[in-house]
Symmetry: C2
Subunit: 183 residues, 2 copies
DNA sequence: CTCTCATGGCTAACGCTGTTAGCCCAATGG
DNA sequence: CCATTGGGCTAACAGCGTTAGCCATGAGAG
C-alpha cells in the first residue's frame, strides 16, 4: 500500500518536473530503483497511475479554491493553481473524470463554492467554470498571442459575471452575499 | 503534391471516424494500400499530418463562424461545429498552433468576428472565446454531469455577455483594429 | 534510341512504448 | 518446519514512429 503511494509520488514529480513524455513505466521504475514489470505488482497499469494523479489534482485544486470569499478571488486562485501545476492540470482535464475512483464530494465541493458565488444559479456557475477552464486551457496551450494581457482578460471576465447578477427567469435570485463583494 | 492531399484526407477520415488511437502511420498506410515508410516520401512525419489537420480544422471552424450576425448565433455555430467534429476540434486545440504553417488570416478573421461582436473590446472578446472553448472542451471531455442542461448554460453565458455592454472604467472602448484577438 | 535521374514504392531494422508470463527469493504465520 | 505470499527479476510480445537502403518505373535530354 505504501509502495503504491510512493509510485504515485514519483509519478507526480516526474510529470510535473520533466513533462508527460517522461512519465513512462520504465522511467518510473528506474526512478524507484526497480524494473518496469515490478510496477504491476502495485498498480494495474499506467491508466491507474494517471487516474490517481487526476484525483490528486482535483483534490489539490479544490483545496486551493476553498475559502475564497468572492468571485475574483476564486478565479484568481483557479488560474494560479493551474499555472503552478500545468501538467497536472492538463492531465486531469484530458480524461473522462473517472468518477468512481474520485473521492466523493471532491468535485462537488468545489462546484458548490462556484455555485454559491454565482448566486445559486447552476447554469451561471457552469458558464463561469467553463470560462475559467477555457482561459486556462488556452493559456497553457500557448494559444494567446505573446503580448496578450491575460490579467486584463480575467478581470473583464470576472467583472462581466459580477456585474450582471443573473436575473433568474423563475425568480430564484440568489441574494448571494458574494454577489456584491467582488463588484 | 496530390498524394499528400490524399494522405491528409485519409488521415482526417481515420481520425474522425475511428478516433485518434487509430490514426497511426501503419494504419494510414494500410488504408492507402502502401507501406508505412512510403508515407515519408510525401510527408516529413506524423506531426506534419497533425499540423495539416489542425490547419484544416481551424479553416473549417472559421468558415462555420463566418457571417453569424450576433453573439448567440456565433456561439451556437462554434458549439455546433465542435460537436460535429469532436476529434478534429480536440486535435486542433492540443497543439501550440503551428502559427507558421497557418494560412495567414484564418484565425485572425474569426478573431475579428468575435471582436466586432464584443463591441471592439479585446479583453472581452478573449473572455468570450475562452468561455466558448472551455464549455466545448468540458462537454467533449464528458465532464458535465449526465443530466446537465448545456443549452441553458450556453444561453446564460451568451446573455451575460450580451447584457453587460462592457462599460470600461477608463472609457477605453477600443475601436481596436482587428489586430489579433486570437492566438 | 538510349542514358539519366527523380519519383515513389519496398523490406529490414532500431529504439521506444505498455504489458504479460513465469521464475525466484525472503519473510511471515500456523 | 513448512506453506503462503509479497515483491522483486528476466524474457518476451505487439505496436508505435522513424531511418536506411534497395529497386522499378517513367520522363526528359542528348
Amino acid at each position: 500500500m505504501n509502495r503504491r503511494e510512493e509510485i504515485i509520488d514519483v509519478a507526480q514529480r516526474l510529470l510535473e518536473v520533466e513533462g508527460p513524455e517522461s512519465l513512462t513505466m520504465r522511467r518510473l521504475a528506474d526512478e524507484l530503483g526497480i524494473q518496469a514489470p515490478s510496477l504491476y505488482k502495485h498498480v494495474s497499469g499506467k491508466s491507474e497511475i494517471e487516474a490517481a494523479l487526476q484525483q490528486r489534482a482535483l483534490r489539490q485544486l479544490t483545496e486551493a479554491l476553498a475559502g475564497t470569499p468572492d468571485l475574483p478571488a476564486l478565479a484568481a486562485a483557479y488560474r494560479r493553481w493551474a499555472l503552478a501545476h500545468p501538467r497536472l492540470y492538463e492531465l486531469s482535464t484530458r480524461q473522462p473524470l473517472a468518477r468512481d475512483r474520485l473521492a466523493p464530494g471532491v468535485e462537488v465541493e468545489a462546484a458548490a463554492a462556484v455555485l454559491r458565488l454565482a448566486g445559486g444559479d447552476l447554469p451561471t456557475a457552469r458558464a463561469i467554470w467553463g470560462m475559467a477552464h477555457g482561459l486556462v486551457d488556452l493559456e497553457l496551450a500557448g494559444r494567446f498571442p505573446p503580448g496578450a494581457d491575460l490579467d486584463e482578460v480575467w478581470r473583464r471576465a470576472v467583472t462581466t459575471f459580477s456585474a450582471s447578477r443573473a436575473p433568474d427567469p423563475d425568480g430564484r435570485v440568489g441574494p448571494g452575499a458574494a454577489g456584491r463583494a467582488g463588484g
